[in-house]
């Protein structure tokens, strides 16, 4: 042992935007390392959306008996963006809640004692969750042709962007939920409790038209609704459907008499991202 420990060898720089960004980037990178190593998780999390799309979609589709004529749309086509959203919902929520593991195994402490802000760590986590959710969805996007969705490059790009945004929002929600949870056994039921209603009340599985008032209200207060609708809207923009079919399957979000424009919905989703992430940071600062 002849090593010399010279304090001049390396110095920790004063905090700046650059050091904060590096911290967020390395947290993101760790999520990627874990994603690549955990191949079984990739496969198992693909099973659920595929069942939704091809089993539930085909089954319910035959029940609805949507006319296969020109200008109309198959139920599986309608379901495609919804299933995408469900996949994001579960993958991203899981990514957010995984911070409970970090706490249980102590690694969270290593991250939180570093001379960087808690926000940088959590932004890294949220970006990681969003990336993982997006990568999962790429596999589903590849199947678009099977359900009558065209491979339009612009549509695919827009969908990827919206999926990423949704992933960021849901990972942040997972982080909010994880902030006070000490054990993973407690976290899992909590996620189920929150995620399942978000899925059913988001318009991912059925169109938001002609609903009874109580259900319409619940879907309108669900942040997920405003992340799902832009995705469906992008798909329908690139389908060859008549106005009546579109009104039936993609009625948009209507507040009273005002149809909320897709741009506003996206802005709202960005707002939810900021809100949820800030809430997570606040809760983590108070707990740790």
């Amino acid at each position: 042992m002849t090593t010399t420990m010279t304090p001049e060898a390396v110095r920790v720089p004063v905090n700046s935007l650059a050091t904060e960004a590096r911290a967020a980037a390395v947290v993101w990178q760790r999520e990627m390392i874990r994603f690549v190593k955990d191949r079984s998780r990739i496969l198992s999390s693909l099973a659920q959306p595929l069942l939704f799309l091809f089993v539930l979609g085909t089954g319910l589709g035959s029940l609805l008996g949507s006319s296969e004529g020109a200008g109309s749309v198959a139920f599986t086509t309608f379901l495609f963006p919804g299933v995408m959203a469900i996949s994001v919902l579960f993958t991203a929520a899981f990514a957010g809640i995984s911070i409970v593991w970090d706490r249980e195994f102590g690694f969270l402490r290593e991250m939180l004692v570093a001379p960087v802000s808690t926000a940088s760590i959590l932004i890294g986590k949220a970006l990681g969750g969003a990336t993982v959710a997006t990568l999962q969805c790429l596999v589903l996007l590849a199947l678009a042709g099977l359900v009558g969705v065209p491979y339009d490059p612009l549509m695919l790009l827009a969908m990827i962007g919206l999926i990423f945004l949704m992933g960021f929002m849901i990972t942040s929600l997972g982080l909010v939920l994880a902030a006070r949870v000490k054990q993973i056994q407690t976290a899992m039921p909590l996620v189920q409790l929150v995620i399942t209603p978000l899925m059913f009340l988001s318009g991912a599985l059925f169109p938001l038209s002609g609903l009874p008032t109580w259900l319409a209200v619940l879907t309108h207060v669900n942040p997920m609704t405003y992340a799902v609708e832009p995705l469906r809207s992008v798909v329908f923009d690139h389908l060859d459907v008549d106005a009546a079919t579109r009104a039936r399957f993609d009625p948009g979000i209507v507040w009273g008499t005002w149809t909320v424009p897709v741009g506003v919905q996206i802005l709202m989703t960005i707002g939810f991202c900021v809100l949820l992430l800030s809430l997570a940071v606040w809760r983590f600062r108070r707990t740790e």
């Binding site: 042992m1 304090p7 001049e8 060898a9 390396v10 102590g106 690694f107």
Partner: protein
């Protein structure tokens, strides 16, 4: 560089009605290896957490390399290395990935980062295992990796909270070898080099330190070099086993005016010159027809120091009521983080 590595004045930490730290004063010089001793629940971890900016004090002041731990939190964090009692490694990542993560988090210069990783990993003998996931490391290897990581950003003060807890004696020895090496290097540095602030409740380990503080029930009850503390206790300890302990105690009282104590089935007596005392002891107890079956003479150890200052051995302190007080739910939660 005359600012002390650690300076603490009137430090108090209360959790509700529980006073974990009850007003302590402390100064640690640059380059010193400073031992912080006490039973579980004595307030060691709370104090170290305050110094590492993880817990805010209720009252008093604490500075690390001249920086206030509350007002200059980030600046303190940049200058300290931490090794916690509980592991804080990411098991799926490799040893080197864990270190690289740390360097990025601390914003270490990328051009120097790989060389520094190699340097610290070689120091703790893990360079050959750098690509293996931490999950495959033994407890001792993980601890060594954590110490390497603590040194990665060249901290001015390295805090080690119970670094040897749960390790086998050989690995414990190895850990102390690293501390000794840091200390040797520190002596050759102009600025006094790295200060090591280490908590332990193994008395024998405290011998490795330049100075030690003994903490009990939230207070520092002794603070000096190990030798000076032992000299203060002064006495050798003569322990005898007899056929009749009560008679032996009576004889000690009448013949020598000494108060013996019965501990674990043996009579123990504190005397200035143990070796010289033994012949006289045999002679006088023989007159009282007390048969001595065995005798041991021990020089004072830090265990005796602890005993003298707290009135209990460190093991008894942990098993007894003081320990249950210390392991209040709040203290448990602190530890759990």
């Amino acid at each position: 560089m005359n600012t002390p590595a650690v300076a603490v004045r009137g430090l108090v930490k209360r959790y509700g009605a529980i006073e974990a730290v009850r007003g302590i004063d402390l100064e640690v010089a640059r380059g010193e290896t400073f031992g912080f001793l006490g039973p579980n629940g004595a307030g060691k971890s709370t104090t170290i957490n305050i110094l590492c900016t993880l817990v805010e004090p209720t009252d008093g002041e604490a500075e690390v390399v001249g920086l206030d731990v509350v007002r200059e939190r980030a600046a303190v964090r940049r200058r300290i290395g931490l090794v916690f009692q509980d592991p804080t490694l990411d098991a799926p990542m490799s040893g080197e990935q864990n270190l690289r993560f740390h360097q990025e988090l601390y914003g270490v210069d990328r051009r120097r980062a790989p060389a520094r990783r190699e340097e610290v990993m070689r120091m703790v003998g893990l360079w050959d295992r750098r690509a293996d996931p931490v999950a495959t490391y033994s407890g001792g290897m993980r601890r060594r990796l954590e110490i390497a990581r603590g040194l990665l950003h060249s901290p001015q003060v390295l805090f080690l909270d119970e670094p040897t807890i749960g390790l086998d004696p050989q690995t414990r020895g190895t850990i102390w070898d690293y501390v000794a090496e840091l200390h040797r290097n520190a002596e050759s540095q102009e600025d006094g080099g790295i200060t090591v602030f280490v908590t332990t409740h193994y008395m024998d380990e405290a011998e490795h330190c330049d100075r030690i503080a003994i903490m009990n029930e939230g207070r520092i009850v002794a603070l000096d070099t190990p030798d000076a503390l032992k000299a203060q206790v002064g006495a050798d300890r003569v322990t005898i086993t007899t056929d009749d302990d009560e008679a032996a105690l009576r004889a000690l009282r009448t013949e020598f005016g000494l108060e013996g104590a019965v501990r674990e089935g043996a009579v123990s007596i504190a005397v200035a010159d143990g070796a010289g005392f033994v012949p006289r002891l045999f002679d006088r107890l023989g007159h009282h027809r007390v048969a001595i079956r065995s005798v041991t003479v021990t020089r004072p150890s830090l265990d005796d120091v602890f005993l003298a200052y707290t009135g209990t051995t460190i093991r008894d302190a942990e098993a007894g009521p003081a320990a249950s007080r210390g392991m209040h739910p709040m203290a448990m939660r602190m530890r759990g983080r």
